[in-house]
Amino acid sequence: MWQDVHAAGSMNLAGFRILDCTEECGYLAGKLLAELGAEVIKVEPPQGDPGRYQPPFIGDSPDPELSVPWLALNTSKFSVTLDLADGKDRSTFLRLVGTADAVLETAGNGARLGPLAHGIDDAELRKANPRIIVCRLSPFGTTGPYAHRRGSDLTVLALGGNLYPTGNPDRAPVRCSLPVTHFHGGIELATATVFALWGRLQTGLAETVDVSQQECLTMPNMTAPLQYPFTGFTGKRVGGGFRGAKAFFRELWPCKDGWISFALRGGPARNPGIQALVAYIRECGMAAPALERDWQNYNHNTISQHEVDAIQDALAAFFQTKTMEELFRVACERNLLLAPAFSAREIVASRQLAARGFFLDVEDPGRQLVLRYPGYFAQTSLGPACVRRPAPRIGEHNDLFLSSLSAPLHET
């Protein structure tokens, strides 16, 4: 059962009101801010945010209240509906801006939802509220040669440098099937908002923050592009393996019910793990001649491909006899650098996550559902930064937030 155990009032961002006018790529930002205690109001067009129409749906028939991608990243928010193209709603929106600390929107070519897409610029927002912070997320930033260029997860990844090195050498570069640019950019947008709130406290200045998804996507390459002038490494894909001085090593292995990653990387920090795995294989009765060698002095730069192949054949045969969970248990108990490529099924069954109370059953009376979510993104001594309420239904909180706005705050 969902309970607001840790009242938002005690959390970091209690007392801040944020208007969330983002499209799909920015949903995560408002969710994180709300779960840190802010009051986040999703401002949607009267028919609902277009993202509500994205499949798949719970129950499989298209229903804007049951879109899985939308429900996933809009928890803990409130929802009001306003048609920013309509004069009356527009002035209601500006009065709502008058009560808020920050406006979040997605910008750039193709953005349809936010104030900017409706001709409401910073000057007009600040006329409604001189202290309002404006945070914009766009594929490439709102100025510069790509400012008016279209971008989506796939093309931002391509121009952020994280697509080229991902994948198998004999195939096209490949993305994650869920949009990682939205995650990187969404967290960065939330960070932008909190940084700007801090700045306003220091100086009284209301910021406009411009966040570029493309810029977010270079850091995930872990400095490899920055090292290009020294290494000449352009990011060629290696697939599930790595190259030593004399041989190519496998890094991903099929097991009984999925895949695990493990590599014969040497070095003083890694050799004990290889030894522990070999000991375990022996205990399981699958000792093989190729596995009996001087592992203490093993070095992946001196071993020949022929030897590597023999060792890897023995490992492959062993891994096929075990499940991901069995191998992960051994990894935890014996300090092996071995990790299963968990799907949602194994993640939901994780004993570590259960022990930490990570999953939360969120009761959603409006939809007559109880949905099991990843419950929090961090634990703090004030309480977890956790899901506080179900994702709102379209305009669910119009009465709560809009009825009190009938008297204009800044009538001219």
């Binding site: 796939l154 967290i187 270079t218 996550l353 961090a378 004030l382």
Partner: protein, 408 residues
Amino acid sequence: MAQPLFANLRILEFGGGAAGPLATRYFADHGATVVRVESRVRPDFIRLLRHVPGDPAGLDGSHMFAMVNVNKLGIALDMSHPRAGEVAARLVDWCDVLAENFAPGTLAKWGLEYTTLAARKPSLIMVSTCLNGQTGPDRHYPGFGGQGSALAGFNHLTGWPDREPLGPYGTITDSLSPRFVALLIASALLHRQRTGQGQYIDLSQVEAGIVCLSENILNFTARGQVLERCGNRSRVAAPHGVFRCAPESTDDDRWIALAVHDDHDWHTLRAVMGDPRWAKDPRFDTMAGRLAHVDELERHIESWTVNFRARELADRLVHAGIDAAVVWNFAELLVDPQLNWRQHFREVEHPVIGRHLCETNALRFSHFSETDFRPAPRLGEHTEYVCRELLSMSAQEYQNLAEAGVFR
């Protein structure tokens, strides 16, 4: 121009690798004083990553370390020395925020657990980040980002359906968690400003990654469906993929990313392709039709893209209003006009490795800008400065500690 955003903020950092140090960079780039505690006795493992084995530059020659740790100060402190605690206690008194990413329990072993520190200094903000979090039966699992990415579900979802799961290049939990930590530290500062109260933050890199992939979880818990990796395809758009282009000199690894989001895009693409006969097939007229015949569609698209150089083709498509891009390799990324317009890459002069690039974050403020970039500290480079200037030690005091062998 206002003073830097975090002009008066003081951060003390323990740990290593990239995930921890990249988090404090958000503050260092905006004027915070970040002091990194390190030791020759147990060096940060990325100081050991060098291109030339046996490099005479020793622990100061790592490019990755230099690139990740710009704008910070470094103190050498051997935490296993009996007198290290005196210095550590003064560092904790000095700082606003203590950030660490060691294995769980490491700081407690040195007497630096939050409860002890908070009793003396209730305003302390302390953040610990590791793979599985500070509690739970698997907290000591010894993984890096590559393992975190696999456990959080990214690997299962990245790659081709008929091939092994790969994970986005660069171990994605190492790049998501610094953003989370920066967000958490900044929000804790707001809370402290209001209440005077500090806090402890425990960020599990696996958990934070799973939250990003909430859709993956909800598909299973609410629909019983296990999401599978599907290459570059989309549920709602076709064509949506990466297609081979013509080789350029000796490079045959040239690709264009191309996404058709609606029927209007499709008609535009058809026009750019010169309306070939295959594209007039009525099965391709609607998104539903293109999705249903996506194998065939993709073959046709690639038979067209392969005739052109990636850059020329991207220019044509972008000009026509299509969502398309060359898949930049690392060399091209460094000269991307938009990234350079935004001054994303900065050059610094490192005393050992020379001039090198580093990158900043993706935030551009109207009133605040990043400070001038300074190279990463050599191991122990600022030990004396930190002790004398920041901790106000007397010359004698510093000398005594140095002679006792604390600063190693």
